[in-house]
Symmetry: C2
Subunit: 125 residues, 2 copies
DNA sequence: AGGTGATATGCACCTGTATGCATATCGATA
DNA sequence: TATCGATATGCATACAGGTGCATATCACCT
Protein backbone atom coordinates (compact mmCIF):
# COMPACT_ATOMS: atom_id res chain seq x y z
CA UNK A 1 0.00 0.00 0.00
CA UNK A 2 1.28 3.40 -0.88
CA UNK A 3 0.99 6.22 1.59
CA UNK A 4 1.67 9.92 1.66
CA UNK A 5 0.91 12.48 4.29
CA UNK A 6 0.18 15.98 3.09
CA UNK A 7 1.91 18.25 5.56
CA UNK A 8 0.03 20.34 8.08
CA UNK A 9 -2.99 18.19 7.61
CA UNK A 10 -4.16 15.12 9.38
CA UNK A 11 -5.31 13.44 6.23
CA UNK A 12 -3.30 10.70 4.60
CA UNK A 13 -3.46 9.70 1.02
CA UNK A 14 -3.42 5.97 0.39
CA UNK A 15 -3.68 3.66 -2.50
CA UNK A 16 -3.68 -0.03 -3.14
CA UNK A 17 -2.69 -1.72 -6.34
CA UNK A 18 -3.58 -5.23 -7.34
CA UNK A 19 -3.90 -7.63 -10.21
CA UNK A 20 -7.11 -9.54 -10.54
CA UNK A 21 -9.00 -12.00 -12.68
CA UNK A 22 -11.93 -11.01 -14.87
CA UNK A 23 -14.27 -11.61 -11.98
CA UNK A 24 -12.39 -9.14 -9.85
CA UNK A 25 -10.86 -11.77 -7.62
CA UNK A 26 -7.49 -10.66 -6.38
CA UNK A 27 -4.38 -12.36 -7.68
CA UNK A 28 -1.49 -10.26 -6.53
CA UNK A 29 -1.60 -7.36 -4.15
CA UNK A 30 0.73 -5.92 -1.58
CA UNK A 31 0.69 -8.83 0.83
CA UNK A 32 0.92 -11.58 -1.70
CA UNK A 33 3.76 -9.74 -3.34
CA UNK A 34 5.63 -9.66 -0.06
CA UNK A 35 4.84 -13.27 0.56
CA UNK A 36 6.25 -14.33 -2.79
CA UNK A 37 9.25 -12.12 -2.27
CA UNK A 38 9.95 -13.80 1.05
CA UNK A 39 9.51 -17.25 -0.42
CA UNK A 40 12.07 -16.30 -3.01
CA UNK A 41 14.50 -15.31 -0.30
CA UNK A 42 13.83 -18.09 2.15
CA UNK A 43 13.00 -20.91 -0.19
CA UNK A 44 10.11 -21.86 2.05
CA UNK A 45 6.43 -21.05 2.23
CA UNK A 46 6.32 -21.76 5.91
CA UNK A 47 9.26 -19.52 6.68
CA UNK A 48 7.68 -16.74 4.64
CA UNK A 49 4.32 -17.11 6.37
CA UNK A 50 5.99 -17.09 9.77
CA UNK A 51 7.94 -13.99 8.90
CA UNK A 52 4.79 -12.23 7.82
CA UNK A 53 3.02 -13.47 10.91
CA UNK A 54 0.12 -14.93 9.01
CA UNK A 55 -0.95 -18.52 9.27
CA UNK A 56 0.61 -21.05 6.95
CA UNK A 57 -2.94 -22.08 6.19
CA UNK A 58 -3.80 -18.69 4.79
CA UNK A 59 -0.55 -18.21 2.92
CA UNK A 60 -0.96 -21.56 1.27
CA UNK A 61 -4.60 -20.92 0.42
CA UNK A 62 -3.84 -17.51 -1.03
CA UNK A 63 -1.18 -18.85 -3.33
CA UNK A 64 -3.32 -21.73 -4.41
CA UNK A 65 -6.10 -19.38 -5.40
CA UNK A 66 -3.71 -17.07 -7.19
CA UNK A 67 -2.33 -19.95 -9.21
CA UNK A 68 -5.81 -21.13 -9.98
CA UNK A 69 -6.82 -17.72 -11.28
CA UNK A 70 -3.64 -17.25 -13.25
CA UNK A 71 -3.79 -20.67 -14.78
CA UNK A 72 -0.17 -21.42 -14.06
CA UNK A 73 2.04 -22.28 -11.14
CA UNK A 74 3.82 -19.71 -9.05
CA UNK A 75 5.77 -22.17 -6.96
CA UNK A 76 7.90 -25.20 -7.55
CA UNK A 77 7.15 -27.15 -4.43
CA UNK A 78 9.05 -30.04 -2.96
CA UNK A 79 7.72 -32.20 -0.19
CA UNK A 80 9.82 -34.36 2.06
CA UNK A 81 13.58 -34.55 2.02
CA UNK A 82 16.24 -33.31 4.36
CA UNK A 83 14.52 -30.20 5.60
CA UNK A 84 11.04 -31.49 5.11
CA UNK A 85 10.59 -29.70 1.86
CA UNK A 86 10.93 -26.30 0.22
CA UNK A 87 9.41 -23.98 -2.32
CA UNK A 88 10.83 -21.76 -5.01
CA UNK A 89 9.31 -19.32 -7.41
CA UNK A 90 8.73 -20.29 -11.00
CA UNK A 91 10.17 -18.07 -13.71
CA UNK A 92 6.73 -16.71 -14.40
CA UNK A 93 6.28 -15.84 -10.78
CA UNK A 94 9.54 -13.95 -10.78
CA UNK A 95 8.52 -12.00 -13.85
CA UNK A 96 5.14 -11.30 -12.39
CA UNK A 97 6.74 -9.93 -9.25
CA UNK A 98 9.00 -7.72 -11.30
CA UNK A 99 6.05 -6.41 -13.28
CA UNK A 100 4.06 -5.71 -10.15
CA UNK A 101 6.97 -3.92 -8.61
CA UNK A 102 7.36 -1.81 -11.71
CA UNK A 103 3.73 -0.85 -11.55
CA UNK A 104 4.06 0.06 -7.93
CA UNK A 105 7.00 2.34 -8.52
CA UNK A 106 5.08 4.20 -11.19
CA UNK A 107 2.07 4.54 -8.99
CA UNK A 108 4.20 5.86 -6.16
CA UNK A 109 5.39 8.61 -8.45
CA UNK A 110 1.86 9.39 -9.49
CA UNK A 111 0.73 9.64 -5.89
CA UNK A 112 3.64 11.87 -5.11
CA UNK A 113 2.47 14.21 -7.86
CA UNK A 114 -1.16 14.01 -6.93
CA UNK A 115 -0.07 14.98 -3.48
CA UNK A 116 0.91 18.39 -4.77
CA UNK A 117 -2.60 18.84 -6.04
CA UNK A 118 -3.96 17.87 -2.70
CA UNK A 119 -1.84 20.42 -0.91
CA UNK A 120 -3.63 23.12 -2.85
CA UNK A 121 -6.88 21.86 -1.44
CA UNK A 122 -5.58 21.93 2.09
CA UNK A 123 -4.45 25.51 1.67
CA UNK A 124 -7.85 26.66 0.43
CA UNK A 125 -9.27 25.13 3.52
CA UNK B 1 -11.68 1.90 -8.13
CA UNK B 2 -9.65 2.20 -11.27
CA UNK B 3 -9.44 -0.66 -13.64
CA UNK B 4 -7.57 -1.49 -16.80
CA UNK B 5 -7.41 -4.68 -18.78
CA UNK B 6 -4.16 -5.38 -20.57
CA UNK B 7 -5.18 -6.84 -23.91
CA UNK B 8 -4.73 -10.49 -24.75
CA UNK B 9 -4.40 -11.31 -21.11
CA UNK B 10 -6.89 -12.30 -18.52
CA UNK B 11 -5.31 -10.19 -15.87
CA UNK B 12 -6.80 -6.90 -14.81
CA UNK B 13 -4.99 -4.08 -13.18
CA UNK B 14 -6.85 -2.42 -10.35
CA UNK B 15 -6.22 0.25 -7.83
CA UNK B 16 -8.06 1.87 -5.02
CA UNK B 17 -7.48 5.35 -3.70
CA UNK B 18 -8.58 6.67 -0.37
CA UNK B 19 -8.03 9.35 2.21
CA UNK B 20 -7.55 8.28 5.77
CA UNK B 21 -6.82 9.52 9.25
CA UNK B 22 -3.47 9.06 10.97
CA UNK B 23 -4.65 5.77 12.34
CA UNK B 24 -5.39 4.50 8.86
CA UNK B 25 -9.13 4.69 9.25
CA UNK B 26 -10.77 5.41 5.94
CA UNK B 27 -12.37 8.79 5.39
CA UNK B 28 -13.12 8.97 1.70
CA UNK B 29 -12.84 6.21 -0.83
CA UNK B 30 -14.69 5.23 -3.95
CA UNK B 31 -18.01 4.38 -2.34
CA UNK B 32 -18.16 7.27 0.01
CA UNK B 33 -17.26 9.57 -2.84
CA UNK B 34 -20.16 8.24 -4.85
CA UNK B 35 -22.45 8.49 -1.87
CA UNK B 36 -21.59 12.13 -1.33
CA UNK B 37 -21.92 12.80 -5.02
CA UNK B 38 -25.41 11.33 -4.99
CA UNK B 39 -26.40 13.28 -1.92
CA UNK B 40 -25.29 16.39 -3.73
CA UNK B 41 -27.54 15.52 -6.65
CA UNK B 42 -30.52 14.23 -4.71
CA UNK B 43 -30.38 16.38 -1.65
CA UNK B 44 -31.08 13.33 0.46
CA UNK B 45 -29.03 10.75 2.28
CA UNK B 46 -31.79 8.20 2.07
CA UNK B 47 -32.24 8.64 -1.65
CA UNK B 48 -28.50 8.29 -2.15
CA UNK B 49 -28.31 5.15 -0.03
CA UNK B 50 -31.24 3.62 -1.89
CA UNK B 51 -29.66 4.41 -5.20
CA UNK B 52 -26.43 2.76 -4.14
CA UNK B 53 -28.37 -0.15 -2.74
CA UNK B 54 -26.74 0.00 0.64
CA UNK B 55 -28.62 0.34 3.88
CA UNK B 56 -29.42 3.81 5.13
CA UNK B 57 -27.95 2.61 8.40
CA UNK B 58 -24.57 2.00 6.87
CA UNK B 59 -24.54 5.15 4.76
CA UNK B 60 -25.38 7.24 7.77
CA UNK B 61 -22.78 5.50 9.92
CA UNK B 62 -20.08 5.88 7.30
CA UNK B 63 -20.62 9.59 6.97
CA UNK B 64 -20.72 10.08 10.68
CA UNK B 65 -17.39 8.36 11.06
CA UNK B 66 -15.89 10.36 8.21
CA UNK B 67 -16.99 13.61 9.79
CA UNK B 68 -15.67 12.51 13.11
CA UNK B 69 -12.25 11.73 11.62
CA UNK B 70 -12.13 14.93 9.59
CA UNK B 71 -13.19 17.07 12.47
CA UNK B 72 -15.76 18.94 10.44
CA UNK B 73 -19.19 18.39 8.95
CA UNK B 74 -19.75 17.05 5.47
CA UNK B 75 -23.49 17.49 5.51
CA UNK B 76 -25.96 20.18 6.38
CA UNK B 77 -28.83 18.09 7.61
CA UNK B 78 -32.40 19.10 8.08
CA UNK B 79 -34.89 16.97 9.92
CA UNK B 80 -38.61 17.28 9.58
CA UNK B 81 -40.35 19.61 7.22
CA UNK B 82 -42.35 19.11 4.11
CA UNK B 83 -40.49 16.14 2.72
CA UNK B 84 -39.40 14.81 6.05
CA UNK B 85 -35.99 16.35 5.78
CA UNK B 86 -33.01 16.64 3.47
CA UNK B 87 -29.25 16.82 3.37
CA UNK B 88 -26.82 18.93 1.43
CA UNK B 89 -23.06 18.98 1.21
CA UNK B 90 -21.09 21.60 3.07
CA UNK B 91 -18.62 23.73 1.13
CA UNK B 92 -15.79 21.75 2.59
CA UNK B 93 -17.38 18.53 1.48
CA UNK B 94 -17.68 19.85 -2.05
CA UNK B 95 -14.05 20.87 -2.08
CA UNK B 96 -13.02 17.55 -0.67
CA UNK B 97 -14.92 15.75 -3.40
CA UNK B 98 -13.27 17.89 -6.03
CA UNK B 99 -9.85 17.16 -4.57
CA UNK B 100 -10.53 13.46 -4.44
CA UNK B 101 -11.73 13.50 -8.01
CA UNK B 102 -8.61 15.33 -9.08
CA UNK B 103 -6.48 12.71 -7.43
CA UNK B 104 -8.41 9.98 -9.11
CA UNK B 105 -7.95 11.47 -12.54
CA UNK B 106 -4.22 11.65 -12.02
CA UNK B 107 -4.11 8.11 -10.81
CA UNK B 108 -6.06 6.94 -13.80
CA UNK B 109 -3.43 8.46 -16.02
CA UNK B 110 -0.69 6.78 -14.06
CA UNK B 111 -2.38 3.43 -14.35
CA UNK B 112 -2.81 3.94 -18.03
CA UNK B 113 0.91 4.45 -18.33
CA UNK B 114 1.83 1.62 -16.05
CA UNK B 115 -0.35 -0.51 -18.23
CA UNK B 116 2.12 -0.08 -21.06
CA UNK B 117 4.81 -1.47 -18.85
CA UNK B 118 2.64 -4.38 -18.00
CA UNK B 119 2.03 -5.21 -21.61
CA UNK B 120 5.76 -5.80 -21.98
CA UNK B 121 5.49 -8.41 -19.29
CA UNK B 122 2.64 -10.13 -20.97
CA UNK B 123 4.58 -10.31 -24.21
CA UNK B 124 7.57 -11.94 -22.56
CA UNK B 125 5.19 -14.50 -21.27
C1' DA C 1 13.43 -48.54 8.49
C1' DG C 2 12.32 -44.53 11.43
C1' DG C 3 12.61 -39.58 12.51
C1' DT C 4 11.93 -35.04 10.94
C1' DG C 5 10.04 -30.90 9.10
C1' DA C 6 7.73 -28.70 5.20
C1' DT C 7 4.02 -29.17 2.00
C1' DA C 8 -1.11 -30.16 1.55
C1' DT C 9 -5.95 -29.69 3.01
C1' DG C 10 -10.39 -30.26 5.57
C1' DC C 11 -13.07 -28.25 9.21
C1' DA C 12 -14.75 -25.85 13.16
C1' DC C 13 -14.39 -21.53 15.43
C1' DC C 14 -13.73 -16.54 16.07
C1' DT C 15 -14.09 -11.83 15.10
C1' DG C 16 -15.08 -7.74 12.82
C1' DT C 17 -18.22 -5.65 9.64
C1' DA C 18 -22.81 -5.19 7.26
C1' DT C 19 -27.69 -5.81 7.34
C1' DG C 20 -32.22 -5.47 9.30
C1' DC C 21 -35.35 -4.02 12.53
C1' DA C 22 -37.18 -1.04 15.89
C1' DT C 23 -37.88 3.34 17.59
C1' DA C 24 -37.31 8.35 18.43
C1' DT C 25 -37.08 13.07 16.72
C1' DC C 26 -38.21 16.87 13.98
C1' DG C 27 -40.89 20.50 11.34
C1' DA C 28 -43.39 22.29 7.07
C1' DT C 29 -47.83 21.64 5.33
C1' DA C 30 -52.70 20.40 5.13
C1' DT D 1 -52.32 20.07 15.58
C1' DA D 2 -52.00 15.61 13.21
C1' DT D 3 -49.50 13.61 9.32
C1' DC D 4 -45.62 12.24 6.74
C1' DG D 5 -41.09 11.12 5.45
C1' DA D 6 -36.21 11.86 6.28
C1' DT D 7 -32.76 12.16 9.76
C1' DA D 8 -30.77 9.78 13.98
C1' DT D 9 -29.21 5.74 16.58
C1' DG D 10 -29.24 1.38 19.41
C1' DC D 11 -29.14 -3.50 19.06
C1' DA D 12 -29.37 -8.21 17.59
C1' DT D 13 -28.43 -11.10 13.87
C1' DA D 14 -26.14 -12.59 9.56
C1' DC D 15 -22.12 -13.34 7.03
C1' DA D 16 -17.34 -13.43 5.29
C1' DG D 17 -12.70 -13.97 5.83
C1' DG D 18 -8.91 -15.35 8.96
C1' DT D 19 -7.01 -18.50 12.55
C1' DG D 20 -6.10 -22.69 14.73
C1' DC D 21 -6.12 -27.43 14.96
C1' DA D 22 -5.83 -31.92 13.25
C1' DT D 23 -4.11 -35.02 10.05
C1' DA D 24 -1.94 -36.88 5.87
C1' DT D 25 1.87 -37.12 2.65
C1' DC D 26 6.47 -37.12 1.22
C1' DA D 27 11.58 -38.01 0.85
C1' DC D 28 16.30 -37.22 2.59
C1' DC D 29 19.28 -38.50 6.38
C1' DT D 30 20.98 -41.25 10.19
Amino acid sequence: MGRVKPSKFEIFLNYKLWLSSVTGEGIIEEDRYELLQLIKERGSLKAAADEMKISYRKAWGDLKKAEELLGYELLVRQRGGKDGGQSQLTDKAIKLLAAYHELHVKMDDAVENAYEEFKKFTSIK
